[in-house]
């Protein structure tokens, strides 16, 4: 039946077919050429290219699962994570081979590991160079850490650090439950909250960043190892104090531990959003 139906159609004469093909080929090649031309315009430093950031979380290699007391820290606490909210701010990119040249994106980004298990967003645009180091803060630098400085979104209001306690915003809310020791049976809660300027966490990671030729954008992936908040340089025992808001000393301890929570990777190609 089907073959019969097709057979009633007239076959295309070969010369027309060739003509059509030739036309299509020329269209195709011009398009490709114009693409290449655009690429060439983008010489180093001339153009700003978008940089995309993606975030993910793990505990010593196991991807983070919320609400499950399945992790163990060096102090012997078995713990879960129920909340992970923080700010990343002031991204600085070091131009490769030029240790004094940095490019700064002075903006603040709100991150929520539970709401967006793998959060991806546009950081901004940076000049077209090769970069070999990226620095940023977990938290807000002093000029941003002031009451009412961030737009009043529900999230920012939620991160507000009360004025009676110094004002500004929470830098980090890391919460969960834990069993103090292997023999413990009743979980307790912990709430590691960082805020006030003493608890800012400066972070620098080495990463070789070049723009992706196809998408003409940079891609940076940061992966947070939750376990690092509890160790190095300070062993942190949640059983000693699981709630640190307003405790300057302990906030500083956690902030120091936080300097190596992130590892970085260049994303060779941007994921499909």
């Amino acid at each position: 039946m089907a073959i019969h139906a097709v057979a009633t159609r007239k076959p295309l004469p070969p010369h027309i077919l060739l003509l059509v093909l030739a036309f299509l080929f020329s269209t195709f090649s011009t398009t490709m050429l114009s693409c290449r031309k655009q690429e060439e315009i983008l010489t180093e430093g001339d153009h700003r290219l978008p940089i995309w950031l993606s975030l993910s979380y793990h505990v010593d290699g196991d991807s983070l699962l919320f609400e499950s007391i399945r992790y163990r820290n060096e102090a012997g606490n078995r713990y879960s994570v129920t909340r992970l909210q923080y700010y990343l701010s002031q991204f600085r990119f070091r131009i490769a081979g030029n240790p004094d040249k940095w490019y700064v994106i002075d903006t603040v980004f709100y991150c929520d590991g539970r709401r967006w298990l793998r959060q991806t967003f546009l950081l901004g645009k940076i000049p077209r160079f090769r970069y070999d180091q990226v620095c940023f803060f977990v938290g807000l630098p002093p000029e941003w850490n002031q009451h009412g400085r961030l737009p009043p979104t529900i999230e920012n209001l939620q991160m507000m650090w009360p004025t009676p306690m110094g004002g500004g915003y929470h830098f980090l809310k890391l919460e969960g439950h834990f069993l103090a020791r292997d023999t413990s049976t009743t979980p307790q809660g912990y709430a590691l909250h960082l805020g006030t300027n003493v608890a800012l966490v400066p972070i620098c990671v080495s990463v070789h960043l070049v723009p992706n030729a196809f998408s003409r954008a940079y891609g940076l992936h940061l992966s947070m190892n939750i376990a690092e908040w509890f160790r190095n340089p300070h062993l942190y025992d949640l059983a000693e104090k699981g709630y640190i808001m307003g405790d300057t000393l302990r906030m500083q301890i956690i902030a120091e531990n936080g300097r190596d929570v992130f590892t970085a990777e260049a994303m060779p190609s941007l994921p499909n959003w």
């Binding site: 073959i3 097709v6 057979a7 159609r9 076959p11 295309l12 077919l17 059509v20 093909l21 299509l24 080929f25 269209t27 195709f28 398009t31 490709m32 114009s34 693409c35 655009q38 995309w52 609400e67 129920t82 909340r83 991806t120 967003f121 546009l122 737009p151 009043p152 979104t153 529900i154 920012n156 209001l157 939620q158 507000m160 009360p162 004025t163 009676p164 306690m165 919460e175 969960g176 439950h177 009743t186 979980p187 307790q188 809660g189 912990y190 709430a191 196809f214 998408s215 003409r216 954008a217 104090k241 699981g242 709630y243 808001m245 307003g246 941007l270 994921p271 959003w273």
Partner: protein, 371 residues
Amino acid sequence: MTRQHLRTCHLFIFTLALIAMLASGGCRKRSPLEETGPSDSVANAYNATPYLLTIPEHFPVMTIPADNPLTVEGVTLGRRLFFDSRLSEGGPMAGHACASCHIPQQSFASPGGGSMLSVLPWVNLGWNQFFWLWGGRVSGTLEQVMLFEVRDFFQVDPAVLAQDTQYRRMFRAAFGTEEITQKRIAYALAQFARTLISANSKYDRWVRGEATLTPLEQQGMNIFFSERGDCFHCHTPPLFTDFLMHNIGLDSLPQGDDLGYFLVTGDSHDIGKFRTPTLRNLVFTSPYMHDGRFATLDEVINFYSEGIHRVPQLDPIFAHGGRTTPFTASEKAALKAFLLTLTDSSFVQSGSGRSLFPNPDARPNFLVPNH
């Protein structure tokens, strides 16, 4: 035509498609966050008047879904529906209007009682994007919870309303069609609810520099906003709720309704979790908690001071050593004094007719509840 011809023909079409694809897409810049444009908003289809909602200065931005823009006609319709007991005709709530339990003069709440949970107030609902109802049975937008109320709770029969020509006119004005559906009823109610903004309590006026707090209120505020009381983490200003689910240790072994969010998810981590209620207008919303177990604010404060059960699901905020000692009598008095600064009488008075109806002369007579 032979099979060979047929194959050539397919090959040709395939090549053509491939070339077309390459030509059109090969050079396109891939924008990872290519935004989908606003869905063709209903407002464009007809001439409803945009309703200009004034957001108080110290309040967050309110997200209004593109498919339910605020219009004067929509809000007017929603207000009429809110007071109309025909919504319940033939359904399980027969005889009730929304306003029968969400009484404007009581901050759009009422005591509840019997097997019913405490009635939640309609205060600043427009900002909630997270969890609804005490037990978190609905999550998402105001439209979603209104749809739940209309469909499942009241089981509204649109045909009843369609008998009223004035309603048909009002639906046309608000939505561009006379066809009355449960969805449009819910959307109109959502529009009306978005306009119910409480932002004029003594606390708000203090924030705006228009009022001073007494030393006792100030002391209470310091407790509320410090690790001592630590109320602000969940009852976050200016809405005094985070719209999220928490176990605050009300029961050592929750049963029945007290299981809270667990009844929705079946996840043992969610046992005893309830949606944080706003603390605005507490004077009008006693008794307190989902089941109204506390008759007075003193009882609530005593609970937070010395009654919290250390259950496994207890919110981490409470499970700390920060407050190892109960509140003193003066701390309790201070906390209570501060909570009372969240009373917004102008919001409640508006329920009896003032700012609910911007133009009192135009106040239509159908707004009287039918019972």
